[in-house]
Amino acid sequence: MKKLLKQLVIDTATKHIFLSLIIDGKERQFTYEEGINNHSVTIIPYLEEMLKKENMTLRDLDQIIVGIGPGSYTGVRIGVTVAKMIGYLNNPEVYTVSSLALIASAAEKPFVLALIDARRGNAFMGLYQNVSGKIVNIMSDSLENIENYKKGIQMDYVIIEDGKPQVEKIINSELLIKVKDIHSLTPNYLQVTEAERNLHNETDH
């Protein structure tokens, strides 16, 4: 019997937790749920439940695809830590993907602006395109003033802030980046911490 490819997608960079178990290219189990600061509580129990339904363990996974942000710092760290540990303990291949690409995959329109609010008129944003069953990045992920980012967009687009990702569009895309050394996996924060910024400003002047 041919061995079926078993993939797990994890994303916790937004207020929604997203877990998807894909077997032979088809999503067999998923969790997509809004959680207020409790991804840390639910991620492992949900994962356990999904694996159980497919009669699988973490060791059966061939690939993990993890959303590495940008997004909520505390949130994204949960998913990345879990993916990193599964990768380290069980040796599947690990791939990273933009959490904004996952959000964009939920939309049907050709051009999609995926957006995670970052307050004071700023957001984490990325412009993506739906092209025949996969998602393509048009303008790179950025943390900046929402109106400024929008000015740079030439085409008609829809804004999307949440929605259950369509994982087929992600696993078929060219957006996955393979993690060569699992110990080096970290989130993509898109900015240094406030403390680091202040320190550098002090030393500059």
Binding site: N38, I44, K84, M85, I182, Y189
Partner: protein, 333 residues
């Protein structure tokens, strides 16, 4: 029983394997102290980022040092609080992945229970015992009548001792962390500035250090204004004598009242040489134990040691995978 300990409550990423609450097979500590030094204190967001960076490396090294496989581990003990929430969540989730991967029971540990059980690694425990917990976040006196039974007798009403040390160091222009450097300077100074001994006669087991801190800052400020020469070593000695006088006096008071058989001092400030010598000089009728230096500051060996006793005491009841970090947490449960 092999217990895998995990500690990420502040700025050290640590994993350790301890057998039966006593034999340390490995204790790996990835310290961020040099990173936070620049900021004069721990920056929570940076601490969380560093934990994610180092987490798998620390597990890998701890397992290799111990020469064990995950299949050999009988229990996972992870700090669940109190501490920086963003930091705690990294250790808790990493530990839960191991629990799920290898079907190993997991329990959440109170960080202070860990500091207390650091003493079990090198010394025995005889009950009733008195624990003085002194660190950057804690100053408390705890009475234990048996294993894993904690009764808080008193605690600081404001600043923790370690915190006061850091602030005094800053005023004196000394680098972070303040504890070790103030301790070092104090050894060469004289207690000649007559700082107050706050709450020494309060009759209870509580502490207060913010008044003392303000007093020291005022004296320093006034001397500077009058352009008097400031002897940093005397400042350190006078401050350290005031603090340790109070800590020792309250410890002796509790020792007499509860007729304890031993005293253990725990937490980062347990590394303070002034406190060590004053405790040992003032209390000679019963043993006073301090953990080895490596087990004074945050480490996972102490969490594994505490985990062993918590598990036994609770009839081997494990937590479920909903286990979460908590920034505030009561030791008495």
């Amino acid at each position: 029983m092999y217990v895998l300990g995990v500690e990420t409550s502040c700025d050290e990423t640590s994993v350790s394997i301890v057998k039966d609450g006593k034999d340390v097979l490995s204790n790996v500590v990835l310290s961020q102290i040099d990173i936070h030094k620049e900021y004069g204190g721990v920056v929570p967001e940076i601490a969380s980022r560093e934990h994610v960076k180092g987490i798998t490396y620390v597990f890998d090294k701890a397992m290799n040092d111990a020469g064990l496989r995950y299949e050999d581990i009988d229990l996972i003990a992870v700090t669940k609080g109190p501490g920086l929430i963003g930091s705690l969540l990294i250790g808790v989730n990493a530990a839960k992945v191991i629990s799920l991967s290898f079907n190993i029971p997991i329990i959440g540990i109170h960080h202070i229970a860990g500091h207390i059980y650091a003493n079990h690694i090198d010394n025995g425990m005889e009950f009733p015992l008195l624990a003085l917990v002194v660190s950057g976040g804690h100053t408390e006196l705890i009475l234990m009548k048996e294993h894993y039974d904690f009764n808080k007798l008193g605690e600081t009403q404001d600043d923790a001792v370690g915190e006061a040390y850091d602030k005094i160091a800053r005023v004196l222009g000394l680098p972070y962390p303040g504890g070790p450097i103030v301790d070092k300077k104090a050894a060469h100074g004289k207690d000649n500035l007559h700082f107050p001994r706050p709450m020494i006669d309060s009759g209870d087991f509580n502490f207060s250090f913010s008044g003392l801190k303000s007093h020291v800052i005022n004296v320093h400020h006034n001397m500077k204004q009058r352009q008097e020469e400031i002897n940093v070593e005397d400042f350190c000695a006078s401050f350290q004598e005031a603090v340790t006088d109070v800590l020792v006096a309250k410890t002796i008071m509790a020792k007499e009242k509860f007729k304890v058989k031993q005293i253990i001092v725990a937490g980062g400030v347990a590394a303070n040489s002034g406190l060590r010598s004053k405790m040992k000089e003032s209390i000679q009728d019963i043993p006073v134990y301090f953990p080895k230096m490596a087990y004074c500051t945050d480490n996972a060996a102490m969490i594994a040691a505490a985990g062993y006793f918590q598990y036994i005491r609770n009839n081997k009841k494990a937590d479920d995978l909903m286990l979460n970090g908590q920034s505030r947490l009561n030791l008495e449960g």
